[in-house]
């Protein structure tokens, strides 16, 4: 069909699509391709604090990194961070999307409210929550004390057991809008009359959800998981601004570890190695996903 449309156009106006694609390809290759090459290069070289290459060192940087207990702890914490935030966002996002898909008064307002955290820079969100979780003067403690839920100030961000879960909750909050957006798109594509038919057959709401909505949403849930995993795995500002990986390295994930290695501790070679390890993890996760994802017919 496309072929025939192409054939109808006058030959002198036929455009090579690659000419149209070239500018975007060139820009992306330049800004993304070169750094990628450079990271591979730095990861196998001894690099000084100021970026001077001191010579090839094989896998020394990788060995250094893997010998660092903070790295290993960050690696494990990254898994929890990603699972926690993505899982939380999907679990919160699904019921919220189902509610927002109902016909009720003030739905437009409700949608705007739910989308609101998306519009705020992660950095700003992190700054505000850092203040809200302040020990003595933060509004979280003030409110909880007013409600008699806690007796004295809780040291949220100064405690190595509480800081990380708090950051996961903030991560969930900022991931909900995007997740809900994808689900709403999915729900909009579900034809309404199948529910009519189900009701006639006497299916309960729960059965309708389990047997109709959930399977129809499956591709959108999958996509929400994949995209969120990519975003969350790479998410830097929340943890960096709220705790900078502290107290006593208890909130480092791989991105904050990488940044600290590269730009605070002056070890660009090791940071490059961490970047590569992260890339491999990301690609492995995607490949795994594509593998277990059942092939859906060739619908464009």
């Amino acid at each position: 069909m496309r072929r025939s449309a192409g054939a109808r156009q006058p030959s002198q106006t036929r455009l090579n699509p690659w000419v149209l694609i070239l500018p975007s390809l060139a820009l992306a290759l330049f800004v993304i391709g070169y750094p990628l090459y450079n990271i591979v290069f730095q990861s196998v070289h001894a690099v000084s604090r100021f970026g001077l290459i001191r010579g090839f060192c094989g896998l020394d940087n990788f060995r250094q990194v893997f010998a660092d207990p903070v790295f290993l702890a960050s690696l494990v914490r990254t898994v929890w961070w990603t699972l926690g935030v993505v899982g939380g966002a999907v679990l919160v996002g699904l019921p919220v999307a189902l509610v927002l898909n109902q016909d009720f008064y003030g739905r437009g307002l409700a949608r705007v409210l739910v989308m609101l955290p998306w519009s705020v820079s992660l950095t700003m969100t992190a700054i505000v929550w850092r203040w809200a979780f302040n020990d003595e003067y933060g509004m979280v403690n003030v409110t909880l004390q007013r409600l008699h839920l806690i007796s004295g100030p809780v040291h949220w961000l100064a405690s190595s057991t509480l800081a990380f879960p708090v950051e996961i909750l903030v991560g969930i909050l900022v991931s909900v809008p995007f997740t809900v957006t994808l689900f709403l798109g999915g729900l909009a594509s579900v034809p309404g009359d199948i529910y009519e038919a189900a009701r006639v057959e006497g299916a309960s709401s729960w059965q309708q959800f389990r047997r109709l909505t959930l399977p129809l949403l499956r591709p959108f849930i999958n996509m929400a998981i994949v995209l969120n995993v990519i975003y969350v795995f790479n998410s830097f500002p929340i943890i960096w601004v709220m705790t900078q990986g502290g107290p006593s390295n208890s909130t480092h994930i791989l991105v904050t570890y990488l940044y600290e290695r590269g730009f605070r501790l002056g070890k660009p070679g090791e940071a490059a190695a961490v970047s590569l390890i992260m890339l491999l993890l990301l690609f492995a996760a995607t490949a795994l996903y594509l593998k277990i994802q059942p092939r859906e017919g060739g619908a464009a």
Binding site: L20, V99, F104, W118, L122, I127, Y137, T143, G185, V255
Partner: protein, 286 residues
């Protein structure tokens, strides 16, 4: 009968809002913190036990903050960087999206894959290499580190995938016949694109452009890495510097700054979010 249906909808509305209430409270919480701290007289910010409400609204916090944090300069940088990167991203993405929506060609799948991969390689993963790249390029007797140009180019590149995805999914919904009619009338392809296609695509272009702008406005890691001097910092980094690694933080000023930096973009976003929902959903089923 109608009254009955109305009553049912009323009840349903009540349940829906009740179900959403906890989330809405948590979402509005930081906005309340921001606003109420921003208008508190400074001496009331650090009293124990702390209180939600200020004794009176002190609007002068905003003008104090403007001077103390050099807000104007950072605002200028944020605007400049976001606008320029938006323009650059749109200029290179429109032809690419047009090609994806209108033509079938060898390597189309590969190009889509490439875009997907660029989405996975976030700036923070590449930040070490990005810094080297900027340091390598000679510019104005120095290099590109600590220039706004480096940030603009980086933002544009990282926005290509999003812009092409949004634009091509919209472009595909614009009927081909109109352009073909223009060709028959003897219009060249480029002219047909300019006269017929682009006006129809204008809303999609506008929406995509604004979201690219917001991405730039909100970005942190690239500026944090590439920009050194205060004169070139954007709002996100400038405000973070007021908080990070300081013994005393003037929280009323910081909250005033975050509020001013956030509010315009939030309003813009609230106004346009349904287009984003539509665009992403269209792209998703592709």
């Amino acid at each position: 009968m109608r009254a009955f249906a109305d009553r049912r909808k009323l009840r349903r509305s009540l349940y829906c809002w009740l179900a959403l209430a906890p989330l809405v409270v948590i979402i509005l919480f930081p906005f309340a913190v921001m606003f109420l701290t921003a208008v508190k007289p400074p001496e009331e910010v650090f009293i124990y036990p702390a209180r939600w409400l200020p004794s009176h609204f002190r609007w002068a916090n905003f003008s104090d903050m403007w001077v103390a944090t050099r807000f104007g300069r950072a605002l200028e940088n944020s605007l400049l960087v976001s606008l320029s990167s938006m323009l650059l991203a749109i200029v290179v993405s429109v032809p690419a999206a047009y090609a994806l929506a209108r033509a079938t060609f060898r390597g189309q799948g590969a190009y889509r894959q490439f875009l997907l991969v660029t989405q996975m390689l976030s700036p923070i993963l590449l930040v070490i290499g990005l810094f080297r790249l900027a340091a390598m390029i000679h510019w104005n007797g120095g290099n590109l580190v600590d220039t706004r140009l480096s940030v603009v180019v980086a933002y544009a590149a990282f926005n290509i995938a999003f812009a092409v995805w949004m634009l091509s999914s919209y472009f595909a919904t614009i009927p081909r016949d109109l352009e073909e009619a223009a060709w028959l009338e003897g219009c060249g392809r480029a002219r047909a694109m300019l006269k017929v296609f682009l006006p129809l695509a204008a809303p999609a272009l506008g929406v995509t452009a604004i979201f690219t702008f917001i991405n730039g406005w909100n970005e942190f890691a690239v500026v944090y890495t590439l920009i050194r001097s205060d004169a070139n910092k954007t709002l996100t980094v400038q405000i973070t510097d007021l908080v990070a690694g300081r013994y005393t933080v003037e929280w009323h000023q910081v909250m005033a700054a975050t509020l001013l930096a956030t509010l315009p973009v939030s309003v813009l976003f609230a106004w346009l979010q349904r287009y984003l929902v539509k665009g992403l959903a269209l792209g998703a089923v592709k």
